[in-house]
Symmetry: C2
Subunit: 201 residues, 2 copies
């Protein structure tokens, strides 16, 4: 990655690992756009789907049975249409600018794009519980069970829309346990981008 | 990690990923010892086992059947004795000095040691094949099958001697795809240690 070259950082993350805030801080430090919900808004404006419908269905995967039924009629389910629209938007952005994107199967969607660094953020369960208690301020009966359910949703979504397995190291250039610290992780990522920028071997 | 504080970097790695050379270069850059075969030599001198016997058995796991048989007689198999001796040596080193260690289930052996950064290095299969062809200069009929067998050995060894799963992200602070470049990986790790050194939040 040369100084003037476009680059993209995609971030996948366990729920409560701080992956989103890491992405946001990284984008700020790099002076590039950060994409998350903004992407939905763009899809909406491009696809003509109402904001509400998209928000409702976004992130939900169609059950296998429904999927088969839909596919047998040659009509893609709405969640697939949304995903395809999302992917189109993300790919178009990648042609124009450097950015950091969290979620949205970014690593897979941008698999053919050059200078794309794919990151996965995780953390020990106790750190994630602490984070959702302190930072997200969520009050729950069973934090661990809730976190696992959120991870399951992310994993199902990723595994449905890509041929890969969520969280599998082969999808990512770098996997970081954020318990080393949010700011340390951001610093590290800045260092990585600088190291890659400097050329090699 | 403060400047004067002791620190340890443990490296687990896929076969052919360049994990060993990354560890060696990192230790050189940090000005600390690098442990790999040296550890065996120390074990030998401490345990009284002959160099040859240790080298032959080192890295081999006893089959489950043999293990059960041995355990039923309350006598630990030689490979277990070697592992325990290795662990003892590694823990003693960790009390005295900073170092980088590759393999030897270092992350698990040193799980109770402060300032221990656990790394796992991996790489796409095509990169690993290229590496063992070019760097290791190994001539084989089926590189992929050979690499998978070597990984299987490492995985079996780790999974036998620890309660954890080799390559599982929960064991490591950082997992790096070395296809971003050997020198870039070393630079990154130096950056990580510096970031951790700088304190946080």
């Amino acid at each position: 990655m040369s100084e003037s070259k476009k680059f993209i950082v995609t971030i996948g993350r366990e729920y409560g690992s701080g992956g989103r805030i890491i992405g946001k801080k990284l984008a700020e430090a790099l002076g590039v756009n950060f994409y998350d919900n903004e992407v939905i808004d763009m899809i909406v404006s491009k696809s003509g789907l109402t904001n509400e419908t998209v928000k409702k269905l976004d992130g939900q995967r169609t059950s296998s049975f429904l999927y088969s039924t839909f596919m047998s009629t040659q009509t893609a389910p709405l969640s697939d249409k949304i995903f395809f629209a999302q992917s189109k938007v993300i790919k178009e952005l990648a042609e124009k600018e450097s950015f950091v994107i969290v979620g949205r199967c970014g690593d897979y969607v941008l698999k053919d794009v050059e200078n794309c660094l794919n990151i996965f953020i995780y953390a020990p369960m106790e750190d994630r519980i602490k984070r959702i208690q302190e930072v997200y301020d969520e009050k729950l009966n069973n934090y661990e069970s809730y976190i696992k359910k959120q991870d399951k949703k992310r994993s199902d979504y990723y595994n449905y829309f890509t041929p890969n397995k969520w969280g599998d190291r082969s999808n990512y250039h770098l996997m970081i346990d954020s318990s080393i610290g949010i700011d340390s992780t951001v610093k590290m990522l800045l260092g990585v981008l600088e190291a890659l920028n400097g050329g090699e071997e």
